[in-house]
């Protein structure tokens, strides 16, 4: 066959499609004056108004519950949530920072190391809400770059009908407890990573090899750990308290064990970006989140601990001050460890488990 490609009337079609696409792209453009626009919203001192963009890893049902409160307190403000797991929030923010266009005004993630990294990079606007005066000092940044609004806790869980559970994180590796434990994957789950930082700081790399030798099952995130324990695939699990409490409320037969060597708390801080065009409204949103009403919603809907010591803990647990006594303390050395040697920890963990 000599050449017949030309007979397919492709140009008409492709050109048509291309033209249509170009039109679509143009139509989706906003047209404005090319003069450097002064669209930086004047910071209305006084009444907060306008839009506030919040990137958060708080559960969607907590956000749904906070919505009416924010509407009532700040009628002029529209809050837009981008909600995802804290790893995803971090990825998205990193990408936006790389592009030099951070859309978020507020960040409310539950990864203390990520927040600390951004704080050191100088991304945050210091702001001390009047509500933080009562909050325990260990949950605050003393430079006011961020402040915790909620506290999650890593505890041990087991099924009601299972053999005697482990009583401490150390018991998972020292042979005093026989059974299989499910843990989150520190390589991908932020909460599991924080837990691993604490355990490594206390028991060294041998902790990971010990876990491997005792047949620990690595599951993806907290939901996967919960599943493994509930289904009987594992005898016990290292899990977030709020996940266990929520599951219990739904009729699951889970029991929480407070480890004798100290639970691991994971503060969920909130911080303001320096680049925010609307700091007044953003600060007002922070105030609402830290107000007693906002804190109560976090306890009641999210099953997490509030930072306000006047409030009880979730599902009749004691409040935040008792929690901090039951938990291992956060130290600057630990923060440093997670920030600077996080990569090495992940390597150590995956080396231990690939044997």
């Amino acid at each position: 066959m000599p050449h017949n490609p030309g007979r397919m009337p492709f140009p008409a079609l492709v050109r048509g499609a291309g033209l249509a696409l170009a039109l679509v792209v143009l139509a989706s453009c906003r047209i404005e004056s090319a003069a450097p626009s002064s669209d930086v919203v004047a910071t209305h001192e006084g009444t907060p108004s306008g839009e506030v963009w919040v990137y958060t890893s708080m559960y969607q049902h907590v956000l749904d519950a906070l919505e009416p409160l924010l509407k009532q307190r700040l009628p002029g403000v529209t809050v837009r949530w981008y909600q995802a797991g804290s790893e995803k929030v971090a990825s998205r923010l990193d990408a936006e920072r790389a592009a030099g266009a951070v859309r978020a005004d507020l960040l409310a993630a539950s990864d203390p190391f990520f927040i600390e990294r951004l704080a050191r990079a100088g991304d945050f606007l210091p702001y001390a809400s009047p509500h933080v005066l009562r909050v325990p000092r260990s949950l605050l940044d003393l430079d006011a770059r961020y402040a915790a609004i909620r506290v999650s806790t890593m505890v041990l869980v087991h099924r009601e009908d299972s053999p005697p559970p482990p009583t401490s994180f150390a018991a998972l590796v020292d042979g005093s407890w026989k059974g299989r434990v499910a843990i989150g994957d520190p390589l991908t789950s932020g909460t599991a990573f924080t837990w691993a930082v604490f355990c490594q700081a206390r028991y060294g790399d041998a902790y990971f090899t010990g876990l491997r030798e005792r047949g620990a099952i690595v599951a993806g995130g907290n939901a996967a750990v919960l599943q493994k324990v509930e289904s009987g695939e594992a005898d016990a699990g290292v899990l977030l308290l709020e996940n266990a409490l929520t599951a219990r409320a739904k009729g699951s037969h889970l029991q929480v064990v407070w480890p004798t060597d100290g639970a691991v708390t994971i503060p969920g801080p909130v911080a303001l970006f320096k680049s925010t065009p609307n700091p007044v409204a953003a600060k007002a949103v922070v105030d609402v989140l830290l107000s007693p009403e906002g804190q109560r919603l976090i306890v009641e809907k999210g099953d997490m601990h509030a930072v306000d010591p006047r409030l009880a803990g979730p599902r009749d647990e004691p409040g935040v001050e008792t929690l901090l006594q039951r938990a291992q303390p956060w130290t600057p050395a630990l923060v440093e460890q997670g920030l600077a040697r996080g990569g090495a920890l992940k390597e150590a963990f995956s080396r231990a488990f690939s044997r």
Binding site: N4, P5, G6, R7, M8, P9, F10, P11, A12, L13, V14, R15, A17, G18, L19, L21, L26, S28, C29, E32, Y55, Y59, R80, W81, Y82, A84, G85, S91, R92, D94, A95, E96, A98, A99, G100, A101, R103, D185, L187, T188, I217, V218, A219, G220, G221, N222, A223, A224, L226, Q227, K228, S231, G232, E233, A247, G251, S252, H253, G343, S354
Partner: protein, 554 residues
């Protein structure tokens, strides 16, 4: 009749290339280059050979499984008088309708070593879904429709005259079927298998779900890339290097299809509009029916049943007793306004992406034919984003489009392209990622069309556009429809990219599934998956019914 002037060809190429480069290839290349430029990108790559080997083994296994199951199934379902073949055709497309990781969950509840339902029946540890074999199995089954639909479309295009010729020459009906139709459909089938290979190589959910808990953990390239990307700056370099390795698989896979298809590529449709006669199975009908029914029960219904059971349980893995079953999850999830809003947006986006993929894929196929040598490049470019892990593609789009693009005209008017936090970015991501489905299906179908049809139309006085619309397009329709269906299903429940790109304040099904799965409980996610299966089954039923009506009306 003269060939259109050469410049027009180039205009077409430019019109097709521009959106692809701007919206898919460019951002990814930019991100990878940035990563590779960072220090330490190539350090420690030797430690990742295990992941590469795993990826290759798992993807090859998945593709082989899909081909081995898909080829006979396509023959049985589309060319024989198998009982209930319409229903089976719908059932066997379901694996693509549900995100692979939901199937993974289903199999996890069936074949976890200790708690799986099957292992509780057969004894502890009989089956273990964790590890490479389990991953390849789940990926292969969920890729089955790619082979099945591509093969079905090809078999419908095969000129029945060929089989009749074989019969006239004395071949038995079975021999005629196996020696004419099957070899002719083989390029399409193997091209489907290559798509399964690429899908398995770039998939994340299933390898993560089933690999991380295996002992030792099975790591593949995508899960390694994800782990490295999460380390932010220090990991991005190595992640880029790995992603580059993954992307090199695309041309290799395309070369493989090309080599496979070269021997068997024959013009299939020379113009007679005869419907092919279904092959009578005779005595084998019962046996074949039983075999297909068994396959369907094990591969599709069993995990679906596990999903339904999960959706009804109060807590995951509770004892199996009537008292433990509840409908609470169903009422709690289905009528929530969030679910309805997310479904609406997802269906809209999936339809848009399906249409875009069909149009751009057809364009790619036509360009491929027009440019011959250069066509291979066009195809590689169109298929390439498919092998990009969703996380990487999403991050690339975020880096590229987080900032508004301003095109300034005459220093007065600025066109501002603001994609960040709009559903458009999701549409771009979906269409870019799944363009390969349209391109491959379109190219295979077009390669099998004899140009004499369009020529005949032109001779009868039709203009080029008219000839294309009346002669070529109707013959391409099954392949394009298959591409649309596959894209639609994939996009409607896409998870990895949706979670990162979803605009603030709105929802899509993929994100909802992910949320329910990881924060609420698997039961709620299972409800959504079941509802989606029902939706797809009804949709396909309606399509099939409409098709039959149209056929009768003719």
């Amino acid at each position: 009749m003269s060939a259109p002037a050469t410049p027009l060809r180039w205009v077409g190429l430019a019109a097709w290339l521009a959106p692809l480069v701007v919206f898919a290839v460019g951002p990814v290349v930019f991100l990878l280059a940035r990563g590779l430029g960072a220090a330490g990108a190539l350090e420690g790559l030797a430690a990742e050979t295990g992941a590469l080997v795993n990826t290759l083994a798992i993807s090859t296994g998945a593709a082989a499984l899909a081909l081995v199951l898909g080829a006979p199934l396509a023959l049985l379902l589309f060319r024989t008088d198998l009982p209930l073949r319409g229903a089976y055709a719908v059932l066997f497309t379901l694996p693509s309708a549900i995100p692979a990781f939901i199937w993974g969950m289903g199999w996890l509840s069936l074949a976890s070593p200790r708690a799986g339902y099957l292992n509780r029946l057969l004894g502890e540890g009989t089956l273990d879904i964790h590890g490479p074999v389990g991953i390849a199995f789940v990926e292969g089954v969920s890729g089955l429709p790619l082979v099945l639909l591509a093969g079905g479309a090809a078999m419908r295009r095969v000129d029945p005259a060929l089989e009749e010729a074989a019969r006239v020459c004395g071949a038995s009906p079975a021999r005629a079927l196996l020696t004419t139709t099957l070899p002719l459909a083989l390029p399409s089938l193997s091209s489907g298998a290559v798509m399964v290979f690429l899908m398995a190589a770039s998939s994340f959910g299933v390898p993560y779900l089933l690999g991380v808990s295996a002992s030792p953990p099975t790591r593949v390239l995508t899960t390694r890339i994800y782990e490295l990307v999460l380390r932010a700056d220090e990991g991005l370099g190595r992640a880029s290097a790995l992603a580059l390795g993954l992307l090199l698989l695309t041309p290799v896979a395309l070369l493989a299809t090309w080599a496979l298809g070269r021997s068997g590529r024959v013009r299939l449709s020379a113009g007679k509009g005869l419907a092919s006669r279904p092959f009578a199975l005779g005595r084998g009908r019962a046996v074949a029916g039983a075999a297909v029914a068994l396959g369907c029960a094990v591969l599709v219904l069993l995990p679906l049943g596990a999903l339904v059971l999960t959706s009804l349980q109060r807590g995951f893995g509770a004892r199996l007793a009537w008292g433990e079953l509840t409908l609470a999850h169903w009422s709690g999830v289905l009528w929530a306004p969030r679910t309805l809003r997310a479904t609406g947006l997802s269906l809209l986006l999936a339809t848009g992406a399906g249409a875009l993929v069909c149009a751009l894929g057809l364009g790619a196929a036509l360009l491929q034919r027009a440019f011959r040598r250069l066509g291979a490049g066009v195809e590689a470019l169109a298929v390439w984003p498919y092998a990009v892990p969703g996380t990487v593609l999403a991050l690339a789009l975020l880096v590229a489009f987080s900032r508004d693009w301003r095109f300034i005209l005459l220093e007065r008017v600025a066109f501002v392209l603001a994609l960040a936090h709009t559903p458009w970015l999701l549409l771009v991501a979906y269409a870019g990622k799944y363009l390969a489905l349209g391109t491959r299906n379109g190219a295979e179908a077009l390669a099998q069309l004899d140009p004499s049809l369009a020529e005949a139309a032109r001779v009868s006085g039709a203009g080029p556009t008219r000839a294309f619309r009346d002669a070529t397009l109707p013959l391409l329709r099954p392949a394009l429809l298959a591409a649309f269906v596959l894209t639609f299903l994939a996009c409607a429940t896409e998870i990895t990219m949706s979670v990162l790109l979803v605009p603030a304040g709105s929802e899509v099904l993929g994100k909802l599934l992910f949320d329910l799965q990881s924060y609420a409980d698997p039961a709620a996610a299972a409800v959504l998956a079941c509802a989606f299966v029902a939706l797809v089954a009804v949709g396909q039923g309606v399509l099939a019914l409409l098709g039959r009506r149209a056929a009768e009306a003719r």
